[in-house]
Amino acid sequence: MTVDSRTRLLLAALVALILTVLPLPRWLDVFRPAFLVLTVLYWSVNAPRAGGLAIGFFAGLMLDVFQGPVLGEHALALSLITYIAVREHQRIRSKPAIQQALIVFAALILYEVVLFMIDGWTGHPVTSPLRFVHTLSGALIWPPAAAILSYGAGHRL
């Protein structure tokens, strides 16, 4: 079970990373959900044993390489929300999809706020409110994304 789930996890993370860095037109780019963050959240809620914090940290590191001004920025933000998701995974898992989406919305806002603060401290301030738009689209896409990720994964791991 572990090998199987881990390869599936890595595959999902790779696809999510590709979706994250895929070039998109500007107007669409603002709405692009943080696919990798959503995937990591899904796996930490539904299979906290298969990776959890380590996945969060390394996924964040990949994001840093692709789009971070400072190495460790996304890693910190993503390990923070991964930690919360792993800790509360039983409570989150038992909620219906709509409530899960609300929790994901809160987690994404926390993630973006952490990034925003680190951006400010390290001298790369981006104060445009557009940077928070993706939290909303991420929450909206959560129910279908969770359904896709759970498809073929059998059931609880």
């Binding site: 940290f57 910190l76 930690y83 792993v86 390290t122 981006v126």
Partner: protein, 403 residues
């Protein structure tokens, strides 16, 4: 990714203090990494390796559009190719003529400036690079190029296209390099208003079609249609390359500063190839060599940082020797290794309005008489500006920053 194993082998991580402990560990690791990357720049090697690891993925992402372009290219009709060939030939002829005139003007300018020799071009070497990936969001405007340290690319290198300045490299991997565009909100480029010699800083506005000039006083002599060229301060870009054209000047009586917008001349959206440039260090128009450049983009807004000193005055050293060799050593005597056109093909519009008395195409706002009168006094300010630029550091820094 060996950590996956340790993560999975642990007992259920939802129980006990394990996740909290590990979170603390990872958070500390992230903080240390951020500190090292931000303050001490120790992580360039790590970034180098990570960027090399990420490159195949980025290349794969670029392959569908690249394949599409290749297909389009290979199925083009003979007529289309012939038409393009004819167009290119005529434009090459045009450029050659302009280059010839430019050489004469450069020589004359060199003599007028007391250098008594025709200067070689500022650019020493050119390298064409393909754009592999492009990010044009409000927050980040970056390119990924398919050239890296293996090709001699270095951090903080100027990137141009045939129309103007594009940006500079920020992170260099072994086979790839990331470029920050001049329109990125974190980027600032020192510029000079070509018409008046007024120097200021153009900051990216987070939009691929505009730059902001936030440090101009309300009474600054600038108007829509003015050409902005790089001023050579700042130590990255050479002097005199076209950067942008002013599109909008907004003066408000209650605001001490004018709100000025400019449109960059480079077409990042439509380019698929850009040029990396190596500059001749001893050229007067070359950017000042500065060791402190490495951290410029990393710590704070570059616009707020002290700019490196102006290029040193070369007049005493260069005027004495090599004076008789002047006519023979035309600017093209130094061969560009890649057979690229001379780098000064583009600044020609700068000298365009002076010899011809017809209105220049890029100053539509000014009527003909105003153009005539403006072109005469415009000779004086650049000369004085240059005097400031070649003066010792103190005056240059004061003259440069209007704040």
């Amino acid at each position: 990714m060996a950590a996956f194993g340790t993560g999975a082998a642990r007992p259920l991580s939802g129980r006990g203090g394990s996740p909290g402990f590990r979170f603390t560990l990872y958070a500390l690791l992230s903080l240390i990494m951020m500190y090292l990357d931000q303050r001490a720049h120790y992580l360039e090697q790590v970034r180098y390796v990570l960027q090399a690891a990420a490159y195949p993925l980025q290349l794969a992402l670029n392959s569908p559009p690249a394949a599409w372009r290749w297909l389009q290219e290979s199925f083009r009709s003979r007529e289309a190719l012939q038409a393009e060939n004819a167009r290119l030939r005529s434009s090459a002829r045009d450029l050659q003529l302009r280059a010839m005139r430019y050489e004469a003007l450069a020589r004359e300018n060199g003599e007028l400036r007391g250098l008594r020799e025709a200067l070689p071009p500022v650019a020493d070497r050119w390298l064409a690079a393909e754009i592999v990936n492009i990010q044009l969001s409000t927050l980040r405007q970056r390119l990924l190029l398919n050239r890296g340290a293996a090709n001699g690319v270095f951090k903080g290198q100027a990137v141009l296209d045939d129309k103007g300045l594009i940006g500079q490299t920020t992170h260099v991997g072994p086979w790839s390099a990331e470029v920050i565009l001049i329109t990125d909100p974190e980027h600032a480029v020192p510029v000079l208003v070509e018409r008046t010699g007024l120097r200021t800083i153009a900051v990216g506005a987070g939009d691929s079609t505009s730059l902001a000039l936030p440090y101009l006083p309300g009474n600054a002599d600038i108007r829509s249609g003015d050409l902005l060229v790089s001023s050579g301060l700042g130590g990255v870009f050479p002097e005199g390359y076209p950067v942008a054209r002013v599109t909008e000047v907004h003066r408000d009586a209650v605001q001490p500063l004018a709100q000025v917008r400019a449109a960059p001349l480079a077409h990042v959206d439509s380019d698929s190839e850009v040029m990396l440039v190596w500059f001749r260090a001893d050229h007067p128009a070359a950017p000042a060599p500065s060791a402190s450049l490495g951290g410029e983009l990393r710590s704070g807004n570059p616009a707020m940082q002290p700019q490196p000193a102006a290029p040193k005055s070369h007049a005493p050293t260069q005027s004495a020797p090599a004076a008789p060799a002047a006519p023979g050593s035309a600017p093209h005597s130094e061969p560009a290794p890649h057979g690229e056109p001379a780098p000064h093909g583009e600044p020609a519009p700068r000298s365009e309005p002076a010899p011809r008395s017809e209105p220049a195409p890029h100053e539509p706002a000014s009527p003909l008489p105003a153009q005539e009168t403006a072109s005469a006094p415009s000779k004086a300010p650049p000369a004085s500006a240059r005097a400031i630029e070649t003066a010792p550091n103190g005056t240059a820094a004061r003259g440069q920053d209007p704040q």
